[in-house]
Structure formats: C-alpha cells, structure tokens
Symmetry: C2
Subunit: 376 residues, 2 copies
C-alpha cells in the first residue's frame, strides 16, 4: 500500500470514522482505524460495539489529489494516527506499508515509522442484502433526532428506554423517546414505496449520526436489517445495532382533554426557567413551581440554603382554570430548547397529571409530555 | 445598602475578585464576595489563603451608571451570586440589603432573595504602611511573569521552588524560576528611587495576577510588606503572600563556556519538537534525542509500542563539536513558547551538562537552562 494525498481531506475522513472508535473497547483491533486502498480510492473504517462507520474518498476527488502507487490494507492505532496526521508539517502526506506491518508516514522532512495491525483480522461489517431503503434529507433526519433524542433514558435499568422508538407505517414515520418522566414524539410524512418497520435505535448512535453529515442536503438512505440499521450517504455508511425488546406503548400516555392552556414565547420562558433553576438545583428536590391564575403567571424557585427567586412571566395568552404545578426545570429546559425560537402552548389537566407542550401554530405532529412532581 | 447599576460593569468587577475566591476554603466566609458600598462607590473583595483581590467601581463611572440609595456592606456566596447576576434579564440590576442578612436582587421582573453573611466577620486585608512602591507597566510585568513562571515547580516537596525569586538591586529587577530540571531567568532595568528587595512570590499568584489587568498600559505599583506583596493599579489591589525560606543560589548554575552552538527559528523548532514528543510521550522516559553533526541536525522520538519518528531540522547556523543529547521535550516546548516568534541560540557543553537557550539577537538579560537526560 502506498498513497500520497492532501492532508486536510484525509483528516476530514479520519475525523468521521473516529466517531465510532473508542479507546475502551475490549477488542484491541477496534482501537484502530482500517485503511483500505484500491484503484477506486481510499476506504476508512471505524467501529465499536454499537456503531460502525465507513467512509470513501474517491481517487478522482480533486481536493484529495490522490496518487495511488500500490493498493493494500492496514489497521493503525486511531488515537496516535490522528495526532500524527494533524501535526505533520506539509499540506500533503504519503502513507506506505513496508515489511512487518510497519507503516511509514512522511510529510516534508518528518518521517514517522509506526506499528500497524493486519487488516485481515479486522471484523467484517454486516452485508446489506436488499436495497429497499427509504430516503430522507440529512436536514430532516437531524431535526427528527434533535427533537426526540434528548428524552431517552440515561440509565441502563431499562435498556429499551435508552433508544428512540421509530415506526414506519403507511408512509408515516413516528419517532418517540421517553425516560418515563418526560416524552417527546415527532411524526413526519415520507414519500415512496416503503416497507413498514418498527425498531428501537440507541440514542447515542443517533446523536453520533446527526454529527457526521457533511451537507444538510445529502440524501440519506435508511435500510433495516435483522439487528442493525444502516444509514447510507454517497460517501458514508453508518451502521448502528438495534435495541432488542418491546418498547412500551406510549400512545395511551398522551392526554387529549385539558383544564388550563397557556401560550409562551420559547426564548423568554427558557431564560426565566433558567433563572429559577439556579436555586432549585441547590434544593433537595430540584423543582420549580409555576402558578397560573387570572391575574398573573409566576415561576418560583427555592433553596433553603441559598434563598429563593420569583418572576412574573410574560405570556401570549392563557385560558381555563388557575393551577399551581411543580416540575423539574431541567426537563422543561430540554423541551424548550428542542422547540427553538417559536411560540408553544402548554396544556394542563391538574397538578398531578402530565402536561403537554406543542407548537402553538397548530402543528400536531410534534408533542412533548412532562410529568409534574407532587408536592404537599 | 441599596444600589442600582449596570449589570455588565458589575459582572466585570465580580469576575476579577472571583479569581481569589475558592470553593475549597476551610474558612466559610471566604467562599463569599464582600460588597461594600460608600458614597464614593462600590468595593468588592475576594480572598483565599494565598491571594486577596479588591476592586473599586467609582460612583462617577459613566458606564456603571450607579444610583446609590443607601450605603452599607454585606458578604454573598460568590458562586451563586455570579450565576444569578449573569442570568438576570435586564441591563441594570438593583441590590438591596433587607433585614436578617437577606439581599434582594431585582432586574426586570425577576426577584431573587438570597441569604447573606455579615460583612463584619470578613477578615481584614493587610494595611499598607508605606507608599514606597516601584512601578511597572502591566505589559512589562506580564511579560516578566510569562517568561519565568512556567518553570516553577508543581510539587510541594520543595515549597520554595513553587515561587518565582524576585530580586531588586540597584534598579535591576531579576526574576528566576526553577523546578531543578530547568530554569528561566529574566533581568529588567527599572526607573526611580527604589528600595532593594529579595522575595519569593508563589507562581500561582503571579499567574492569576497576569490575568487580572484590564489594560496592558496600566501602571502597577509594587509594594513589599512583611510577608505580603501588593500589586496596585488605579482600581485594584492584588495581595499575595510571600514564600518563606531561602531560595537556592542559581547564579552558579549558568555555564559560560560551550562546545556547540546552534541557532533555530522558534516556531519551526517548536513544531518539530511537538511531532517528536507525540511518540516520546508514550515511551517510558519521555525523551527525544537531538543529533547535531556537520552534515545534518536531526530530532528523534521513539515509543516501543507505537513506533518512531525522525526529522531533519532546519536551522539558521551551527558551530562547534558534533553532539548527541537527549532531553524532555515538554521542557523544551515550554521554553520555546516563552520566546515567542524569534530566533534563539542553544549552547551545549556535553550530553550530560545543562544547555542554555537565549535570544539570538544578543539579549543577555533573558536566559533559560534545561538539564538533559542521561541515556546509555
């Protein structure tokens, strides 16, 4: 294997596959990045127990300006390799595999001779058997992920809740995440002749996925396999394992009739909640209290040691019964951030029943749920 | 106490005194910031075992736009107080001391009621008895600090070496720091009718000091007291304790005759050392080897596990005997960074004797020393 190419192009590919490489793996070869050079171009692979990423840099890529002298494959320690490439002195570099699994990296007058591993020992990625993918622009997929993934559980006590439940049925894609204290659900319409599916994808995989797209307009093909999902763009394959088990039925959790409704501007509410949470974070329960009555809407935060805060909130409109309700402000902050800069309507039944948050423009395809905290 | 003022101005003062406030102190009141309001303006104080900082915001400061309704003093928990002020909704805020050591902070519709401590229990700062200070522009003082402080010891095994030795004699100010493996020494001329001194100032104090000056052209008065030093600008007092004990005699350490001299451009040498250290950091000894002979100058780094690196170095000029010498690349990097973008001359006696680094323009007032590592 011998190739000379542009350092910046190579670094960009390395950074992408590195998302899948962990220093903590129990399989030593997975701490490495696999490099495969053919006449077509350069394929890099990184993998851990949950995700695998493969990128392809074409021999005809102009910026990469690749000179392929000899094809071949090798595995290099990812952590050092990336540092070395990053610190090389010149704009181009040469990689050459020599005897005894040694790779020579040269750039300008710098010459690195690094130990490598045999590429034949690198695990094979799953083979895609069918090509019946449904397709989404990266922008739409990223939005779907960002609107739901924050609500997955961080605890392994119920592993299934660490994933996002994705169901495709009659060309409607539903994504739901819940940690049993709050829930976020987004529905989108998709086009084409698509096969239905019902899977649970690890939240961490989706977070990494949303960071790997180079262009928001890339079209992503999504293929379901037995226990894997593949997200495919022109130059990248991103595999994630699926979570096994039954996702709880979340349909019945979302209430449909309410006693109080209030509409807020998201950035204003978010900064008031943020202030109230400064003190609630120091209290034992981390709760803030929202009080809605015909005269005013007020948020309260309290810490016996530090002090307390109250703030009359600006709101767009309010209807229904007065209510006093307490909740975890961090759930509210996460939720508000996922709505970005719009107006939202929060609907309450009672101080002990979950309340919903939705865009106030009538978009019923995006809904969130937060369970209040009972106080006496 | 009651005052209304500009939030950004107040935050700036808070950030300065916060440099002296540690959450880890064993004296509870020192986790707080002392606020003292007089008709003249607002004085803030923060302190820990090593340093104390006092800032003054004048009642006539235009940007601060202060409205003083009632004078007084109070101590507030620094950590929360800063967070609260930072997150307030409006450009101005009001602080009011009410009964029972409660402080009310208002801004827009937000109202915080926080627990405070009695200012009478706050320790008094040392009183400056004389005013015979010598003066330096902040820019000169900062340069002196940055050129020496990196070489102080990080270990408490010899506490005196954690400080910078500063000697004023015949209007020459000498600053020396060493951790016994490397040394940095800078001499500057000062003006005026100054009293000689010989003190050791903790390196950490000097690092914090160099970050507190708002304007590089501020004139800093430096006053020596019994076991304290005071750095004073128009609106700030910065006290540091002095280290007790005898600083070792470093004069005799600096050699005067050499067998090999080589001149490098600092940025080029720095990036080559950086590359070589990538592998040396993984080796057991963390050393790189520099080889100088009549044909070429080469740097070598090696890690049995990862591999090795070699690079022919560009240099400006070389004279004297060939030499092969090994050293810790981190000491070399620290040293090179303190020279910034100039050319330097490195002078060697033998592979087992310390070598010197100096600006190649003949500036003999700045010199550094690094002890090599013996290898066999």
């Amino acid at each position: 294997m011998k190739v000379t190419l542009n350092r910046a192009s190579f670094l960009e590919e390395l950074a992408t596959v590195q998302r899948a490489i962990s220093g903590k793996t129990t399989i030593p070869i997975l701490t490495g990045v696999k490099i495969k050079l053919t006449e077509m171009g350069l394929t890099l692979t990184g993998s851990n127990a949950d995700i695998s990423i493969e990128t392809f840099l074409s021999a005809t890529d102009e910026k990469a300006n690749m000179l392929i002298e000899k094809t071949g494959s090798i595995v290099l320690q990812a952590r050092f390799f990336n540092d070395i490439i990053r610190k090389l002195p010149e704009a181009t570099l040469t990689l050459e595999l020599v005897d005894n699994n040694q790779v020579i990296i040269t750039s300008g007058k710098a010459l690195f001779n690094v130990n490598a591993l045999n590429a034949e020992n690198y695990p094979h990625l799953p083979i895609v058997e069918h090509d019946q993918a449904f397709k989404l622009p990266a922008r739409v997929l990223n939005k779907l992920i960002n609107e739901t993934v924050f609500a997955v559980s961080m605890h392994e006590s119920r592993p299934i809740l660490t994933g996002v439940h994705m169901i495709l049925k009659n060309n409607q894609l539903l994504a739901v995440a819940t940690d049993s204290h709050r829930l976020s659900q987004r529905m989108i319409e998709v086009e084409g002749d698509n096969q239905d599916f019902d899977v649970v994808i690890p939240g961490k995989s989706l977070q990494e996925l949303s960071r790997t797209f180079k262009d928001e307009e890339d079209l992503v093909s999504i293929l379901m396999m037995d226990n894997q999902v593949l997200f495919k763009t022109e130059n990248m394959l991103f595999y994630s394992r699926l979570l096994e088990g039954n996702y709880p039925d979340t349909d019945r959790l979302i209430p449909t009739s309410f006693n109080t409704e209030i509409t807020f501007n998201v950035p204003e509410l978010l900064s008031a909640i943020d202030r109230a949470s400064l003190l609630s974070h120091e209290g034992r329960n981390n709760i803030v209290r929202l009080s809605i009555n015909s005269e005013e809407v007020t948020i309260y935060g309290n810490s016996p040691e530090i002090g307390n805060v109250e703030e009359d909130l600006s709101y767009v409109s309010v209807t229904g019964d007065p209510i006093d309700i307490s909740f975890n402000p961090d759930y509210m902050k996460d939720s508000l951030k996922s709505f970005s800069g719009i107006d939202i309507t929060i609907k309450f039944i009672s101080p002990i029943r979950p309340f919903t948050l939705q865009p106030s423009d009538g978009d019923i395809d995006f809904i969130q749920l937060i369970t209040p905290v009972r106080t006496n």
